[in-house]
């Protein structure tokens, strides 16, 4: 059975998530989506899902608050798998769960959920007019943008060019690598939202080749940073695995996302990894093309990242 793609839809209160959700559910796209709304007592949308949810956020045994898993989510994904018939995708709207991390983590932490689903993308809706103000008040508004693979910059009709530029600049500072799609009333083509395959990192990085300049660079706003590293040299996988395991164990609380593609000597395929906080997942991606430059690219997004230390450690993983 092919894994079901899952899109996590997030955004601050009033940004326009529900507008987008309604479009997805009502437009004639010929697909069947199951929708999980995060904050509800009882919901039945599209005859796909009827369930009751209690907010279940709990700590891992190691006591790390960032490693919370949502029991309801696991239960619901399990429930969807049981249903007869074909399901094209699952959409999770994280209303009321301002921090998307626990939802994303579920797709790493629970083996069964991980086997059955493929996290397609985190899509964040941003209110162009109020974003600047929300940034000042809410850590969650910032984190939603930091975690995003795609950002719908909504309500652009309510701001002038200067306001739009300001919002764009703020988004770019927090998250330089997500695709930003301006919209009014979330009127974006749905294929920009669903089936993005953003976790196909090659595609993502190819969209923004200028993101990864030679060497490393850094964007920062408050303490949120993005550290990118690139090398033409192949990576010693054993060294890299040992390093990233230790690094995330020690600093994972500060790492919102990490992603990368690695050139492993003798491997036909690129090795793709992605992580959230302390969790990291690795697997082989597309094969390298004949004439392609085999570059290893790594991105860390987090708080108080030691750029130099990351750079030195990454270099230490390269094949000499």
């Amino acid at each position: 059975m092919l894994p079901i793609p899952v899109t996590v839809l997030t955004g601050y209160l009033g940004a326009g998530k529900t507008t987008l959700l309604n479009r997805i559910l009502t437009e004639n796209h010929g697909k069947r989506y199951a929708v999980i709304v995060n904050e509800f007592g009882e919901v039945g949308i599209d005859n796909e899902l009827v369930a009751h949810s209690d907010e279940e956020i709990f700590e891992m045994n190691n006591g790390c608050i960032c490693c919370t898993v949502r029991g309801d989510l696991i239960r619901m994904v399990g429930g969807l798998i049981r249903r007869k018939g074909h399901l094209d995708a699952v959409l999770i709207e994280t209303t009321g769960l301002a921090d998307p991390a626990p939802v994303i983590q579920t797709f790493f932490l629970d083996q069964e959920t991980k086997d059955r689903t493929a996290l397609d993308a985190v899509v964040t809706v941003v209110d162009a007019r109020h974003f600047e103000g929300q940034l000042g008040q809410s850590k969650e508004a910032r984190e939603q943008v930091v975690f995003a693979d795609a950002i719908i910059l909504n309500k652009t009709d309510l701001v002038d060019q200067a306001g739009l530029d300001l919002a764009l600049e703020s988004i770019r500072r927090l998250n330089p690598r997500a695709e930003v799609i301006p919209s009014t009333r979330c009127d974006v083509p749905l294929d920009k939202v669903l089936g993005r395959r953003s976790f196909d990192l090659m595609k993502l990085l190819d969209i923004e080749p200028d993101l990864l300049d030679e060497g490393a660079h850094e964007h920062s706003h408050d303490e949120v940073q993005s550290v990118s590293m690139v090398s033409d040299k192949p990576v010693d996988f054993d060294k890299f695995k040992a390093w990233i395991g230790t690094y995330l164990n020690d600093h994972g609380q500060h790492v919102y996302r990490c992603k990368g593609i690695l050139n492993i000597p003798g491997e036909r395929q690129r090795l793709v990894f992605q992580g959230v906080h302390m969790l990291v997942e690795m697997g082989f991606g597309h094969p390298w093309k004949e004439d392609e430059a085999r570059q290893s690219k790594v991105v860390f997004i987090g708080r108080n990242l030691d750029r130099l230390a990351l750079q030195i450690a990454f270099r230490g993983c390269l094949v000499k």
């Binding site: 009751h52 709990f58 045994n61 029991g71």
Partner: protein, 343 residues
Amino acid sequence: MGAPTLLSPGLWQWNLGAYIDQATFSSDGSRVAFALGDGRIATIGVPCDDPQFSAVHQGSCLSLAPHPAGGFISGGDDGLLAYTSPDGTVDEIIRSKGHWLEHMARSKNGDTVAVAAGREVIILDLAAGSLATYGPHPASVSGIAVSPAGGVLAATHVGGVSLYDLDEPGEPITLDLRGLNVAPAFSPDGNYLACGHQENAVHIIDLASRKVFGLSGLPAKPGKLDWSHDGSLLLHSGTKAVICWPVPACFRENPQPVAFAVQEEARMCSLSANPLIPFAAGGFTDGTVLLAELKRFAAFPLDIVPASPVSALAWSAQGLHLACGFEDGRAILLDMGEMLSGN
């Protein structure tokens, strides 16, 4: 859908047309029942009749138990707790709107049946014809077990396990265990309780001394637990082999589990121990069903073509028949006697 195929001596297969979520036998062992993902219950006369279907639930049928007087009790994600009689008539017991009735447990004689509904547990005393509600618990009930003799209810949830004396209702005893606890299982003598954890760990609790044996770092969530017939071994799913923890030896220093029948490519996702002999069945994600001998610690696979994950396993109370359900809707029944005489 219907007619059985004989795969090998004592091994029959049906296609029931929907995800099989649960399997159980009628109390007299004459019929086997399967709970299906499309809300139906399929019952089959043992060993090889054509299946009879009853449309019971809207959505999925999630839990199933035999009624001591015949027929089956089932719960679904429509919140319906229903009784399906041997002739296929469906009667509503209760309706718990908005709750998935996916956890069900019963005492050994079947007179006490428990079902979880959100934060509460409903207890049916089928002998007395009465119904009682326990809870609310601090979070959704994620697993329940009734002690074999029927006197104690264990309900797992986030942060611990609540234990109730069913004979003398009162406040529960709460055992604190961090994380999300699942799949509680009483040892056959009722002296130990084991449970799994969403966080890939297992705990075994000595109920008299409250000593707790904990094991973490498993490859996946141990979502199914069971005890060998004599209670000397605890088995659990979530591993790439058959793993048995000796009890009470596990409470001493450096306990060593017995591990055998390593499966390189698959993980155990379904489990059922034979109630009468040292034998257990383990179902794996690649569709393999292993019969494990718990005396010699050796296992052999059932002679079936692995196709989709094993989603349900159950032994009859007499220990002679094993029912297997698969995600792709195949159901398999093994008659141990037939199989052994056929070889």
